[in-house]
């Protein structure tokens, strides 16, 4: 019980989640399994460098320093910076959720999301994880992922997790091929309430697919075919910008 202080520090940081945005010391010890004195010391040091902040009541919260550093992640905010204006356009043309995600190992990570005020019934949070096999952006990323990632996804596929159109691993395999061929994906989530439909397309830089862009809307009043061209066009615009402008700002 003691492999790497850095590992521990990040385990402690990782113990925060959307249900635990502010944790007392006791919470940290509980969720990390560290000794009280250790957790306190590490948390204090993290506070010192700004990775954590401490509230008046003693609880810890994630600090701004992390935002500052994270904003330099090329695959995160770097990508976001060039994609944003195009996402804006897409958002206002469609009036629906617009998502931008990148793949991280066997999951996707939501880099940006644009939404209207109204009681946004969508499960995904910026910075949160997204499954590859049951979402539009996920499928696009998966279809363009290295072979081993796809194999793991196919091997670990549990029927029913990816809606009605994809029931078996074979369905999934066919869908991925289809997505590669057409260079876009359409996914439906026929949940009892909150049915969703998504149109998604890949974003590329010089080296290939780096992200996926999508429009998500409630199924009834949403014909994905109508938005596929818009999503693809926006994705291509972002891709072009990534190749020319070097993505900075």
């Amino acid at each position: 019980m003691g492999d790497g202080l850095i590992e521990r520090a990040f385990a402690l940081l990782g113990s925060f989640d959307s249900e635990h945005r502010a944790q007392p010391l006791a919470g940290l010890t509980r969720r990390t399994g560290m000794a009280r004195s250790t957790a306190l010391r590490v948390a204090r040091q993290l506070t010192e460098v700004g990775a954590l902040e401490r509230l008046d009541d003693g609880r810890f919260v994630v600090g701004l320093r992390l935002l500052e550093i994270a904003s330099l992640a090329p695959r995160g905010h770097g990508l976001r910076a060039v994609a944003m204006p195009f996402m804006e356009d897409l958002f206002h043309v469609t009036g629906h959720h617009v998502l931008l995600a990148v793949r991280n190992d066997d999951e996707a990570l939501l880099v940006e999301r644009l939404s209207t005020h109204d009681a946004v019934p969508i499960r995904f949070r910026v910075g949160g994880r997204i499954p590859l096999v049951s979402t539009g952006v996920g499928l696009v990323l998966l279809a363009n992922a290295p072979a081993d990632v796809q194999e793991r996804a196919l091997a670990g596929f549990v029927p029913g997790e990816a809606g009605d159109a994809i029931r078996t691993a074979d369905d999934l395999r066919r869908s991925l091929a289809e997505i590669r061929r057409g260079d876009y994906a359409v996914a439906r989530r026929p949940s009892p309430e909150n049915p969703r439909t998504t149109a998604a397309a890949p974003v590329r830089d010089e080296d290939g697919v780096v992200a996926a862009l999508s429009v998500v809307a409630p199924s009834p009043q949403f014909d994905p075919a109508a938005y596929v061209p818009a999503v693809r066009a926006a994705a291509r615009a972002i891709s072009r910008q990534l190749r020319t402008g070097q993505g900075g700002r």
Copy 2:
């Protein structure tokens, strides 16, 4: 030469900036002063936890894990999540830059920025630092900051750094009082080319001012008076949302 591994790790992370988004090991050692073997080991560990990623050419870049954790910062993405829709509205009504910033010690940190595509001539980057005394959001935050912060700003004020309207520390003091009274700020940057004008307003939660919202536009075609009401209204809307909805999502 060795105070705190965590401190070192964050010094290493902090050695990345907008001009150095991808650094080879040698760059890390140079900019942190650490021994090569140490820098390599620390960087490797950071890579292991996802705080860094390694490119094919061996260079290090900031990783997605940090984005994931940072997205839980209440003062960062937490705030951002509730502010976004209102910023959207403001952005489309005005068609100009919309900024959201929070104060961090004696500086401001840009939490979100909405901009149009066109060669956006604005110095500030999401996640970047903003001076308190020479910008709209900065002045709003400063005017509502604790006494000691204001004193340091007044004491350290160098004439000329805050445009034409604020030439002396006394001017600044008066401006701050004015901003508190009116609950908004208007700032002009009369730079030779790229003149800018800003209208900014404070965002509050239960405990007081937590952020500042602004519209920034090129001076010629921008009469700030016209946008002050819109900015204030949006800021108040965000404030109300912060108090009722508990800021999550």
